[in-house]
């Protein structure tokens, strides 16, 4: 392993590879900060350029662009409530709440530091235990995936807002939106109402832009409360303060990173799911869950370390089995083939230096993220100096462009219009909107695995608990479902005891 690592270092630390890494770093920063241009699109745009590069430079620049783009998605998410990538959507509200309190720079710097921590944990996991993690991931079948998605959804329903029933309605709306279009299993069109473009389904990125950004534009223009987005004076952020905050929530960063590694290694799941699940679990096991959603760094720490860890570990199934973990690594496999490499277990034996050079490139990218990210935060923060009334019309047009960019169709613009107006009224009435996005992201995964599990087991519900991992995940999910009931019962029992005690006293 040491000689492979040494060979990899020699491969990466050459002028052309480092130049490629530097430019893809800037490219990733730029594309990640654009709403509607996800990390996948960034990589797709990069592919034609990689034709002209050596295999190491090509893979290194893809690895860099992804790692940086996932962080860059936090910039518009935190400052303007427009998540640049779906992976940032889980904590966009939290970071935005901090921005409104004048702590935008602090939120983003914490997010940067945790992104780097998550990224480094991901690199370590990738290089030390890729084959082992891949074996674990292969254990996951329909039932395990079903429970995983169910955990994500239930926790999200309870996490957002004060009223879990309204969160549940929001999750259901998201799940229903994910069913629009051709059914993946039977090929039957659903809920298209005879409208042809709906056959393809509703893409969740325009919905995300509409629900978060357009609704925010409407709110700021229709109910103007302040001249600037941040009325309180912007607080200065010292590195000591950020380091202290991250240290205080070091447990959250650790569990977030580990969860990110595990979820990222599962084919079909990815950094989006990792950040949602980590945010939800972070809240569930927090000492102060009531602070979540009010501009509290704890959830940001958990979620942002998680999504960066996942960007590394999504490469595991691709490298070890040639099964892409998400759309980015699907493109990566294409590039591997183009460069004459056969992904699979043998790649670790035959092309070990090249594989290790990918790990080194991830490491370099994550370290490069610190200076580049700090500069980007300082620059992006200036946007808050523009008065809200001037900023909002510009953001509206920006949203239109972003939603159009997904698949270059006007459909995206129609979707942000409908979802933006709907989200505005939903939030006016206390319905949280983030669970709907999660429902859309996980809907297909949940449904496909549920239906296939039912078909495999011939409708036997007990099959959902037969294997050890499935049984564990299932038990956790059901515990989540029952916990509000248990809490209510305990509260009632306590109230009765207090009443009886008072009654006895008088």
């Amino acid at each position: 392993m040491i000689e492979n690592l040494q060979a990899a270092l020699e491969l990466v630390f050459t002028v052309d590879v480092l130049t490629a890494i530097f430019f893809s770093c800037l490219f990733g920063l730029f594309t990640g900060a654009m709403p509607g241009v996800s990390a996948t699109v960034a990589v797709a745009l990069l592919v034609p350029v990689t034709f002209f590069m050596s295999p190491v430079a090509a893979l290194a620049s893809i690895a860099t662009a992804v790692a940086i783009a996932i962080f860059a998605g936090d910039l518009p998410g935190g400052l303007l409530r427009i998540p640049g990538t779906p992976a940032s959507a889980a904590y966009a509200d939290e970071a935005y709440a901090m921005t409104r309190k004048g702590e935008g720079e602090r939120a983003l710097t914490i997010s940067l530091v945790c992104s780097v921590i998550g990224g480094l944990v991901g690199v370590l996991a990738l290089s030390l235990s890729a084959p082992m993690l891949a074996d674990f991931a292969l254990e996951f079948r329909y039932h395990e995936y079903f429970w995983l998605a169910a955990i994500g959804l239930t926790t999200a329903g309870f996490v957002c807002g004060d009223n879990p029933v309204k969160g549940l309605v929001s999750v259901c709306i998201g799940l229903m939106l994910s069913t629009v279009g051709f059914d993946m299993i039977s090929g039957v069109p659903r809920f298209t109402f005879g409208y042809f473009p709906l056959l393809e389904g509703i893409h969740f990125i325009p919905v995300m832009i509409g629900v978060f950004a357009v609704a925010e534009v409407i709110r700021n223009l229709v109910q103007p409360t302040s001249t600037y987005l941040v009325e309180v004076p912007e607080k200065r952020t010292g590195f000591r303060d950020v380091a202290g905050t991250v240290y205080r929530y070091k447990g959250k960063a650790a569990t977030g990173s580990v969860l990110g590694v595990i979820i990222g290694a599962l084919p079909g799941a990815g950094s989006d799911m990792a950040s949602w699940v980590s945010y939800a679990i972070g809240k569930r096991f927090s000492k102060t869950p009531e602070k979540f959603g009010t501009g509290h760094p704890e959830g940001i720490v958990a979620a942002t370390s998680s999504n960066n860890a996942a960007t590394c570990s999504t490469w595991i199934p691709s490298l070890v089995f040639g099964i892409p973990g998400d759309s980015v690594t699907a493109i990566v496999i294409g590039v591997l083939f183009l460069k004459g490499l056969q992904p699979g277990p043998t790649v670790f034996l035959e092309d070990a230096p090249l594989v290790y050079s990918i790990f080194v490139a991830f490491l370099v990218a994550n370290l490069l993220l610190i200076p580049v990210g700090l500069v980007a935060i300082k620059a992006a923060r200036q946007i808050l100096r523009i008065p809200t009334r001037t900023l909002m019309p510009l953001i509206l047009v920006f949203c239109i462009v972003g939603s159009f960019a997904i698949n270059n169709s006007m459909m995206g613009v129609s979707i942000i219009l409908v979802s933006g107006v709907a989200a505005f009224f939903m939030q006016e009435n206390g319905f949280p909107v983030a669970p709907a996005i999660l429902g859309m992201v996980m809907g297909r995964l949940l449904e496909e695995n549920f239906i296939q599990a039912m078909i495999v087991a011939d409708g036997d519900w007990l099959a959902f608990f037969e294997r050890p991992i499935a049984a564990t995940l299932g038990a956790i999910t059901i515990a989540f479902w029952l916990s509000p009931l248990a809490v209510a019962l305990i509260a009632r029992a306590r109230a009765r005891r207090v009443a009886r005690a008072n009654g006895g006293a008088t």
């Binding site: 029933v165 309204k166 229903m176 039977s186 039957v188 223009l221 229709v222 509206l396 462009v401």
Partner: protein, 158 residues
């Protein structure tokens, strides 16, 4: 503007009932036991239940909170004009951008919204923003990100 939860609850129940009825129009695939309708029906059943819960809880508060609470912003006609302008701007883009082009259409949207939001005092800066911002976006998205934004009237110039 906050309506009583009972109103939202009834709307949610209605929506889930209509969609549930719609699942019966899915063509049946012979031999498929767990077909396209299973999952949506399960979700809709949960949604209907949640709507019923909200309705019952909401009805308990009607006496105290009333059917609808109208906030200060919703009493001002200006708020609703602004709301209509935002929606109209996006509709205008959907209908006209392919024919007229991204730059003129988004320029008009920005100019109108800025005028409505800031009044006529900032006329010059509004005009400058409405001219420059779409051009900047057009350049970035078309040249750097390869997004084919509609060129329209300015197709030959840009």
């Amino acid at each position: 503007m906050r309506v009583n939860d009972a109103v939202s609850g009834v709307l949610i129940m209605l929506l889930s009932a209509v969609l549930f009825a719609n699942t019966f129009t899915f063509p049946a695939v012979p031999g498929v036991q767990y077909g396209a309708a299973v999952f949506p029906r399960a979700v809709l059943a949960v949604m209907f239940g949640a709507g019923a819960w909200l309705t019952v809880k909401g009805l308990m508060t009607v006496k105290a909170a009333g059917w609808i609470q109208i906030d200060a912003w919703a009493r001002r006609p200006g708020s609703w004009i602004m709301f209509a302008l935002i929606v109209a701007g996006m509709l205008f883009y959907i209908l006209a951008a392919d024919a007229i082009g991204f730059v003129p259409v988004s320029g008009i949207i920005i100019f109108v919204l800025l005028l409505a939001a800031r009044g006529r005092t900032h006329l010059l800066s509004s005009a400058i923003l409405a001219l420059s911002f779409p051009l900047l976006l057009y350049y970035v998205f078309v040249n750097a990100l390869r997004v084919p934004l509609p060129a329209g009237w300015l197709g030959g110039v840009l």
